[in-house]
C-alpha cells in the first residue's frame, strides 16, 4: 500500500515538475481525440438521422382516376391484410390538391390552368419494420405496379440508401483518421515520458541500485501517461461539446437542419466515458513504448 501511494505521488510529482511538456502532451492528445471525435460525432448523428428516416419509409400508391369508392375501399382492405403494411392512409384527389397548395403556394396557379384537378388519389403505406430492406420494398412495389387500379408506385428508399452509403464512408474515414492520429498521440506521449525519464535518469539509476524492482520504477511513469491521456480525453470532450453547441446554434438559427435538430445530439455518457478511457489507454501505451527501450538495460 505504501509502495502504491509512493508511485501515485511520484506520478503526480512528475506531472507537476514537467508542466510545459505535460501541457503539450495533454493538448496533443486532446486535439487528436477531438479530430477523431468530430468524425465519430458526425457518424453517430447521421446514423441517428438515417435510422429515424428509415422509420418513415413510405410507399405511395397512386390510383387511377374514375374508380368507385367501393373499389378503393376493397383495395385498402386487401392491402391492410398484407404483412408488409404497418399503416395505411387514403389521400383523396381533393386532399392531394389541398396539400399541394399548402406546400407550394407560389405554384398553385399552374394547376388552375389545367381546369379539373390533375392530381391522383393515393394510398400512403408505412412499411412494417421487417419489410424495410431495399429488396423487400422494391419487390413489393413492383408487385403492386401490376395490380389493376394502380397507376404508379413510388417509394423514397433511394436517398436513404445513399445516406447509408455516405455514413459507411464516414465510418471508414473515422477509423483511418483515428488509427493515424492515435499513433501520433502515442508517439508524442512516448516522447514526453522519454524526456521525463531522461531528466530523471540519475534518480532511476539510484532506485535500481538500492534494489527497486523494474515495476516499482516504471509504475509512476505508466500512471503519468495514463493521467496525461485521460486529461487529454476530457479536454477533447470539452472542445467537441463547445464545437457541437456552436454548430447547432449556427445552423439551427438559419433553419438549415430541416427540422432534424431534435435528432442531433452529443455523445451519450458511455461514449464520452469511452473517449476518456481511450485517452487513458493511449497515454499508457505511450509510456509503455518509452519504458520498453528503458527496460532493455540489465542494470
Amino acid at each position: 500500500m505504501r509502495r502504491l501511494s509512493y508511485c501515485v505521488r511520484e506520478a503526480l510529482r512528475n506531472i507537476r515538475d514537467n508542466r510545459t511538456t505535460t501541457l503539450i502532451a495533454i493538448a496533443t492528445t486532446a486535439f487528436t481525440l477531438a479530430c477523431v471525435g468530430v468524425f465519430l460525432l458526425l457518424y453517430l448523428n447521421l446514423r441517428g438521422v438515417a435510422s429515424s428516416l428509415e422509420d418513415d419509409i413510405q410507399v405511395i400508391i397512386y390510383l387511377t382516376d374514375g374508380q368507385s369508392p367501393q373499389a378503393i375501399e376493397d383495395f385498402q382492405r386487401r392491402l391492410r391484410a398484407e404483412p408488409q403494411v404497418a399503416t395505411l392512409s387514403y389521400v383523396s384527389k381533393e386532399q392531394a390538391l389541398a396539400d399541394f397548395r399548402t406546400q407550394y403556394p407560389a405554384e398553385h396557379q399552374l394547376l388552375q390552368g389545367l381546369g379539373e384537378n390533375p392530381l391522383p388519389a393515393s394510398l400512403v403505406v408505412t412499411m412494417s419494420p421487417r419489410f424495410r430492406s431495399p429488396e423487400a420494398v422494391k419487390h413489393w412495389a413492383e408487385r403492386l405496379n401490376g395490380v389493376p387500379g394502380v397507376a404508379q408506385v413510388q417509394y423514397n428508399r433511394d436517398w436513404v440508401e445513399n445516406l447509408t452509403a455516405v455514413i459507411g464512408f464516414i465510418e471508414l474515414a473515422a477509423m483511418g483518421v483515428g488509427i493515424i492520429l492515435s499513433a501520433a498521440s502515442i508517439t508524442i506521449i512516448a516522447s514526453t515520458i522519454r524526456l521525463t525519464l531522461y531528466a530523471r535518469r540519475d534518480e532511476v539509476e539510484i532506485m535500481r541500485l538500492i534494489g527497486a524492482t523494474a515495476a516499482f520504477i516504471k509504475v509512476p511513469y505508466l500512471l503519468e501517461g495514463a493521467v496525461l491521456g485521460a486529461l487529454g480525453g476530457m479536454l477533447s470532450l470539452a472542445l467537441l461539446r463547445s464545437g457541437f453547441e456552436f454548430f447547432k446554434v449556427q445552423l439551427g438559427g438559419t433553419g438549415r437542419l430541416l427540422g432534424l435538430d431534435s435528432t442531433f445530439g452529443f455523445f451519450p455518457a458511455r461514449v464520452s466515458l469511452a473517449i476518456v478511457l481511450i485517452g487513458l489507454m493511449l497515454g499508457c501505451a505511450g509510456s509503455f513504448v518509452s519504458l520498453m527501450e528503458f527496460g532493455r538495460a540489465r542494470s
Binding site: R2, D17, E203, I206, I210, G211, F216, R298
Partner: protein, 222 residues
C-alpha cells in the same frame, strides 16, 4: 562472501580488468587501491551487477551474478549498500526520504521505516538535518547521508567508490571511521580509493590494482 574467478572486462577493446582472482570473507574490511584507470570502479560495478564480466565468474553470497535473472537482481542488491564519490542523493527529496528509499522499495511499514531511518541518521550524526534537502548540505554531510542510506537496511556487504574523494584529511578520516564502525557490526566493507592516507588509518587488507591487473593483496587473513 565475494569470490571472483578469472574475471576480465573490456570497454571498446581496452581491457579494464584482466584475469582477476579474489576472495573476500564475511566481515572483512578491504581497501581496493590503485591509480585512476586501474579498474577499481569497474570491479565495484561488476560486484553490484551494474555490468557483466566478459570472462570469468563472480559469486556474491554464493550466487553467480552472471546467471542471475534480471528480476532477481533487486533482491540481491537489497543485501548490499553502495556509497559513491558523488553521493547520488535525490535532490528533491529531503534527507529522511533519501535514507528511507531502500526500505520503501522493500515495502517496510511506515513505523519501522521511521525507526530505522532515525537510527541510521543518528549513527552517522546528521539526524538534525533530516528535513533538509541534499543541495543545502555540506559535502561531508551529504556523504554521511549517503552512508546512512547504504546501511539503513542492514546490508551484508557495503561497497564504496572513492567515498573520501575531494574531502579534506579531517573529514576523510571521519568518514573512514564511520565505515570502521559499520564493519565492526559485521558488515563486509570494500572501499575503492586512491587515497593512501586511508591505508594508515584502517590497517586492513589492501588489494591493489594497476592497469586492470591485481598486483598485490596485502593483509589477507588467509
Amino acid at each position: 562472501m565475494i569470490q571472483l574467478f578469472h574475471v576480465s572486462k573490456s570497454y571498446d577493446r581496452r581491457p579494464a580488468l584482466q584475469d582477476i582472482n579474489l576472495q573476500i570473507r564475511k566481515g572483512e574490511f578491504v581497501l581496493l587501491m590503485g591509480p585512476s584507470g586501474a579498474g577499481k570502479t569497474t570491479l565495484l560495478k561488476l560486484l553490484f551487477c551494474a555490468d557483466e564480466p566478459d570472462e570469468g565468474q563472480i559469486l556474491v553470497q554464493n550466487r553467480n551474478v552472471a546467471r542471475l535473472r534480471s528480476r532477481d537482481l533487486p533482491h540481491l542488491r537489497r543485501t548490499m549498500g553502495f556509497v559513491f564519490q558523488d553521493f547520488k542523493l535525490l535532490p528533491k527529496k529531503n534527507v529522511f526520504e533519501n535514507v528511507a528509499l531502500p526500505l520503501l522499495v522493500q515495502g517496510m511499514s511506515a513505523f519501522d521505516t521511521r525507526r530505522k531511518v532515525s537510527e541510521a541518521l543518528k549513527a552517522v550524526g546528521v539526524e538534525h538535518r533530516q528535513y533538509s534537502r541534499p543541495p543545502s548540505l555540506s559535502a561531508g554531510e551529504q556523504q554521511r547521508v549517503c552512508i546512512a542510506r547504504a546501511m539503513v537496511n542492514g546490508p551484508m556487504i557495503l561497497l564504496a567508490d572513492e567515498p573520501t574523494g575531494n574531502m579534506d584529511p579531517e573529514l576523510s578520516s571521519e568518514i573512514i571511521e564511520l565505515f570502521k564502525t559499520i564493519n565492526a557490526r559485521g558488515t563486509t566493507v570494500m572501499i575503492a580509493t586512491h587515497n593512501r592516507q586511508v591505508v594508515g588509518q584502517v590497517h586492513s587488507r589492501v588489494v591493489t590494482l594497476n592497469q586492470g591487473r591485481l598486483v598485490s593483496d596485502e593483509g589477507s587473513v588467509e
